[in-house]
């Protein structure tokens, strides 16, 4: 018989979203239920009504990749644990910063993708440590791949590559969009995109100049400032007030 552990193990290994609900108190302590994204379940909590309530409570949490305790009834507390694939950081540009950023992002827990149309930049030798190296135009490579947990760092400095990537990112639910370049470069970029019809509210989603202001100089330091900003937006949201700084904020 398949165990809950085996279901979780295979889901994690194959990158399939899965939630496991465990009774913590007020019922059969330790009883479990596994739930797939399509609503398919495995096991039950010993009571049909309770099981149905658990499924209803867990499905939205699974779709958000959220893990927390839930009071199903005044008495029964369950733990809903979502196992979802790691979020993806897309780096547009096989540039020096991307080499460092991909390595750091991997350590922090991101799936890393580097995209560049220029084969001389996006070489397997420079990017052996990246999860996916895609040699294609960024708009083609990004199309259909961005979800609400995606982050996009646009790093080529070249409008021919940066702008198409930003167009796709701005039309997606990506939670972080950042673009490399000075304030002047960024202002010109915003003018170009505004001329194409993007609204100020849409353009405000772009973090530019990219990265937290830590005085970064080297490509590695710039990568660190970008990754810090990506994590900040993931944890605190885009509208987080400047200065909100507790790493343990819950």
């Amino acid at each position: 018989m398949t165990t809950f552990y085996e279901l979780m193990r295979d889901a994690v290994r194959q990158g399939r979203p899965l939630a496991i609900v465990t009774v913590l108190a007020g019922g059969p302590v330790g009883a479990k239920l596994a739930l797939m994204q399509d609503g398919q379940t495995f096991g039950d909590l010993g009571d049909a009504g309770l099981t149905a309530q658990a499924v209803q409570a867990a499905l939205p949490l699974l779709s958000q990749g959220e893990t927390r305790t839930v009071n199903l009834t005044p008495d029964v507390t369950v733990f809903v644990e979502s196992f979802v694939p790691p979020p993806t950081l897309f780096m547009v540009g096989g540039v020096h910063i991307s080499i460092a950023l991909a390595a750091m992002a991997k350590v922090v827990g991101f799936h890393t993708v580097v995209i560049d149309a220029r084969e001389a930049f996006a070489t397997g030798e420079r990017f052996a440590h990246v999860d996916e190296l895609i040699i294609a135009w960024p708009d083609e490579a990004l199309a259909g791949r961005l979800d609400a947990r995606s982050s996009v760092a646009v790093l080529t400095h070249d409008p021919k590559l940066d702008d198409p990537a930003l167009r796709v990112a701005l039309r997606s639910p990506a939670r972080y969009i950042g673009a490399l370049g000075s304030s002047k470069t960024h202002a010109r970029r915003l003018e170009r995109l505004a001329a194409e019809g993007f609204t100020p509210a849409e353009l405000a989603r772009i973090h530019g100049p990219i990265g937290l202001p830590i005085g970064a100089k080297t490509p590695e330091e710039i990568a660190l400032s970008i990754l810090a900003e990506v994590v900040k937006v993931a944890r605190l949201g885009s509208r987080a007030e400047e200065g909100a700084s507790s790493y343990a904020t819950t």
Partner: protein, 103 residues
């Protein structure tokens, strides 16, 4: 998660039994977030963490008990808490840890 899974696979392949501890609730400042896991084998191996090292000793013992008894239990740890475990979190937060035999 991959790291914990690979360790559990090694222990099971050796015929050992396994218990898992999971942070299910965290109040105030705490070093690990909800969902953080630690696994322990009947042979005394350990992987992962549920705190910054403050309560792992007590959780390790609880895991060994869970392996022996087959019972799951919910443990609470707080700062200067007069629990039977006599351990607390120096960071001032409190956490609930669910300990269960691997199922």
């Amino acid at each position: 998660m991959h790291e914990v899974i690979e360790a559990i696979e090694r222990w099971l392949a050796r015929g050992e039994q396994v218990a898992v501890a999971t942070v299910v609730r965290a109040m105030g400042s705490s070093p690990r977030q909800v969902g953080a896991k630690m696994a322990v084998s009947s042979g005394g191996s350990m992987i992962g963490s549920v705190s910054g090292g403050c309560i792992e000793g007590a959780v390790f013992e609880a895991c060994q008990e869970a392996i022996a008894s087959g019972q799951s239990r919910l443990l609470h740890f707080g700062v200067a808490d007069e629990t039977a475990w006599e351990v607390g979190l120096a960071c001032g937060g409190s956490i609930d840890v669910f300990v269960e035999p691997l199922r």
